[in-house]
């Protein structure tokens, strides 16, 4: 018996090295390659693109969506979706300003606001996990009710409290010419990336997203993992909202509408599967930057925002088709 088997596995090994690697690399890095190409094209088309001022603006603009998209990545990895992030961000942004207005020191206010976001995320995620409700519905309800809650805090008006300079620095300042929010975005990406790749909890996230029933029957705390993903998403959404308030120096209850769609677009463009279990934060990070670079490029070229919306959508579709094709060719196997 062993003879036949060895010979088969030998052949398996023998065929392996050729043919597959180049394509796999292309699948894995295609987004990065597209990103580089777009950047090169942008710098050729508009000389200002590479200016320090422009790059810094670019990072500033992408970071707030980016922080939310990182949290969204975790939720999508467990095969969920979080439609409430825009509302939670607005709530976080209001809360930080209101707490400061009530005389609480800004670091504590920021912390409480992030915790409130985590709580809201946990509430929705926990509900969805415990009652096996689709997260789409639960967070859709969250989108509406949290937005309502946000309006109720000030009856729909912007906050009037003064944002301390230190907090404003977090939202609008620069460190060595780099926007602080950009650094926060990078830090968040690194921390969540490490969490996903280098801890058992991260491994469980992939397992739950990949096959929830198999994960459950392997004894994994499936509901806790699902809930955790929404806690992360809620906390990061509130953080993003608080940083927006920090930059604008007022809390706006109408802020961050439609943020969930931008975040989901970035996650999907970044190669994370909407069915869960596949993808990661690096793809999301690059996708966020790519989307901003495109917007930035159109601005520099003086194209109207209507045109921008159209082209951004088309590019999203093109990227998804490309990904699909590459993946299909890369993994044809019974």
């Amino acid at each position: 018996m062993t003879n036949e088997k060895t010979s088969l596995s030998d052949r398996v090994e023998a065929v392996k090295p050729s043919g597959m690697n180049g394509q796999q690399m292309l699948v894995k890095f295609n987004l990065f390659i597209v990103f580089i190409v777009v950047c090169v094209a942008a710098s050729l088309l508009t000389p200002e693109f590479l200016s320090a001022q422009n790059l810094s603006n670019l990072l500033q603009q992408s970071s707030l969506v980016g922080i939310v998209a990182i949290g969204m990545t975790v939720v999508i990895l467990v095969a969920g979706i979080d439609l409430s992030v825009g509302s939670v961000a607005a709530f976080g942004g209001m809360l930080v300003a209101i707490l400061i207005g009530a005389g609480i020191s800004w670091p504590l206010a920021l912390l409480l606001s992030v915790l409130a976001g985590a709580f809201l995320g946990g509430l929705m995620g926990g509900l969805s996990a415990l009652l096996a409700l689709p997260s789409f519905m639960v967070t859709l309800a969250g989108l509406t009710s949290v937005r309502g809650l946000t309006y109720l805090t000030t009856d729909g008006t912007p906050t009037t409290s003064t944002i301390p300079d230190a907090l404003n620095y977090l939202g609008a300042g620069k460190l060595l010419g780099i926007p602080v929010v950009g650094l926060i975005f990078i830090a968040v990406t690194l921390v969540v990336g490490l969490l996903l790749r280098q801890t058992t909890v991260g491994e469980y996230v992939y397992a739950v997203g990949s096959n929830i029933e198999a994960a459950r029957l392997s004894g994994l705390p499936v509901r806790a993992i699902q809930t955790t993903a929404f806690v992360v998403s809620g906390a990061l959404a509130a953080l993003s909202g608080a940083l927006l308030t920090a930059r604008l120096t007022i809390g706006q209850p109408t802020a961050s509408q439609g943020l969930e769609l931008d975040a989901i677009a970035a996650v999907v463009l970044g190669g994370t599967s909407l069915f869960g279990g596949k993808g990661g934060v690096v793809g999301t990070f690059i996708a966020v930057l790519l989307l901003s670079v495109l917007r930035n490029l159109f601005n520099l070229m003086g194209l109207s925002s209507f045109f921008q919306m159209l082209v951004t959508g088309l590019i999203l579709i093109a990227a998804l088709i490309l990904n699909h094709l590459l993946e299909q060719r890369g993994s044809a196997r019974a």
């Binding site: 018996m1 003879n3 036949e4 088997k5 010979s7 088969l8 596995s9 052949r11 398996v12 090994e13 065929v15 392996k16 043919g19 597959m20 790749r197 280098q198 801890t199 058992t200 909890v201 991260g202 491994e203 469980y204 992939y206 397992a207 990949s210 096959n211 029933e213 198999a214 994960a215 459950r216 029957l217 392997s218 004894g219 994994l220 705390p221 279990g277 596949k278 890369g330 993994s331 044809a332 196997r333 019974a334």
Partner: protein
């Protein structure tokens, strides 16, 4: 012989990492039931997918009724008269039998489906396949056997000249099989050619006219079934004669039981009492489909909550979720490997380490590799590399990965639900060797199987379940398979 209905010549097909077919040949006469045999990974599925048009061969030709055909895609396959009935029947559970039968070619009048006519036509098909259900029955509510008949009916509605059946018996219980066999014979006598794939050789002997054996992607034998024994077929499949296993008769009476099922009850489903499982003992659960074996295993594993009185190592045990069972040292190899056992897109190592990683641990991948090295080696799991997605392995190797998951974790009680489903003979024997090895190291094993010979050969004790109750206990070393089989079917214990 006249012109063959189907000929596949010199088929070769490679995938990144594997050669699936190389030198595969298949010739089927009109009205013949032709069995296709081979171990998992021998290339049967690939060959059939090429026939169906789901894959394109790298080399080779397909001839139907003396004409070379190009099966460019599954639709072309259907037009060429080829119909493949896969193990996972491609029926739509929420739709009615009639809707399924005429999916894609319903009788319409200006785009409006003529329900009455469709139901009448469906009635005709159902009668032809010998089904006892109505056109308006919802497919998801039919028994597996009736679903199987519906799938065959679907093949008939597309005027198939060649029907491929991929392990139809895998999901059927023994008393459901005759209806399907009768239909196969009737179709063959009407001139339809049947390609019948199965791992169960007794079925092959019963239903087949001829058989083609594949090994390592190549056709190694074409035989008249009447001229050969099952032994010959096994030899052709695995390339050597299987060694028959002799087990020592062991005594467990003196050992403290690992698990004691005093009373496990789920109203309407199971009502089990008085089962003991001792260290090193393999307890078999026999019974018909729906006898409650899976439910009992789920209850022990905490996957279904039951009113229970169970003792584990002499202490009260009432798990509310699988996590609790796992922490108590229990592992489950579930019936549905694809849906419940594995994370198919994740790697071999990540699957094998899943239950063993400490929650507060760091660097799970390095840890996983380290933890699973021994278990994967001792189970002789075959893979191209450890980062290969587990879904790419053959059935036998996938099952070994599920086993490796519990070996890595280290369990005192292993629950196996139909562990050999969809696994070929060579791998089956290997799997049982591993299970015996585990048992002899002191692990208690509870194994549910609908194949009685598997239990009589491998279990130390057999409990027969019938309609949710454990009705009789047998010692396979003393009692005959026939006696046990009678209780499995009737649920009644005569004087013995």
């Amino acid at each position: 012989m006249s012109v063959p209905r189907l000929e596949m010549r010199g088929i070769r097909k490679t995938f990144p990492g594997t050669i699936a077919n190389d030198g595969a040949e298949l010739s089927v006469a009109p009205g013949e039931v032709h069995c296709l045999l081979g171990e998992n990974g021998a290339g049967k599925s690939t060959l059939m997918k090429i026939l169906a048009g789901a894959y394109q061969p790298d080399e080779g030709q397909i001839w139907i009724d003396g004409e070379q055909v190009e099966v460019a895609n599954p639709v072309a396959g259907i037009h060429a008269g080829i119909s493949v009935i896969y193990q996972e029947l491609d029926l739509i559970p929420a739709m009615t039998v009639a809707q399924n039968l005429f999916l894609g070619h319903a009788a319409t009048s200006r785009g409006i489906v003529q329900r009455g006519r469709r139901n009448r036509d469906a009635r005709e098909i159902i009668d032809r396949v010998g089904g006892g259900f109505a056109p308006t029955d919802v497919v998801g509510e039919l028994s597996v056997a009736d679903q199987q008949l519906t799938a065959i009916g679907k093949a008939i509605t597309s005027d198939a000249r060649i029907i491929v059946m991929d392990e139809p018996s895998a999901t059927l219980t023994e008393h459901e099989l005759p209806a399907v066999f009768a239909l196969v014979r009737r179709l063959a006598s009407e001139g339809t050619s049947i390609v019948y794939i199965s791992h169960r050789l007794d079925e092959v002997m019963e239903i087949g006219d001829r058989a083609t054996v594949l090994r390592d992607g190549k056709t190694v034998a074409v035989v008249d079934v009447a001229d050969v024994t099952t032994e010959d077929l096994v030899t052709a499949m695995i390339g050597h004669r299987p060694t028959s296993d002799h087990r020592d008769i062991k005594s467990f009476e003196s050992l403290e039981p690992v698990l004691e099922l005093r009373h496990v009850r789920m109203p309407g489903l199971i009502d089990v009492s008085g089962i003991l499982v001792r260290p090193g003992e393999i307890v078999g659960l026999a019974g018909l489909g729906g006898a409650g074996r899976t439910t009992l295993l789920s209850a022990i594993f905490g996957a279904e909550s039951a009113g229970t009185e169970m003792l584990l190592h002499g202490r009260r045990y009432n798990p509310q979720r699988p996590g609790a069972a796992v922490r108590a040292g229990i592992g489950l190899v579930p019936e549905d490997r694809k849906g419940q056992g594995l994370l198919r897109e994740l790697s071999v190592v990540r699957n094998a380490a899943l239950a063993a990683l400490p929650l507060r641990g760091l660097r799970p991948h390095a840890r996983a590799k380290q933890l699973t090295r021994e278990p994967l080696k001792s189970l002789a799991v075959r893979y191209a590399n450890v980062d290969q997605p587990v879904g790419q392995l053959s059935g036998g190797n996938q099952q070994k990965v599920v086993l490796a998951k519990w070996l890595t974790r280290g369990v005192q009680l292993l629950l196996l639900d139909e562990p050999t489903r969809g696994i070929d003979i060579g791998a089956k024997q290997e799997l049982f060797n591993q299970i015996h090895k585990l048992a002899s190291s002191g692990v208690a094993v509870v194994m549910a199987s609908s194949e009685l010979p598997e239990l009589t050969k491998n279990a130390d004790t057999i409990w027969v379940m019938h309609e949710g109750k454990n009705v009789a206990r047998f010692d396979p070393a003393i009692e005959s398979e026939e006696d046990i089989a009678r209780v499995v079917v009737t649920g009644r214990v005569e004087n013995r």
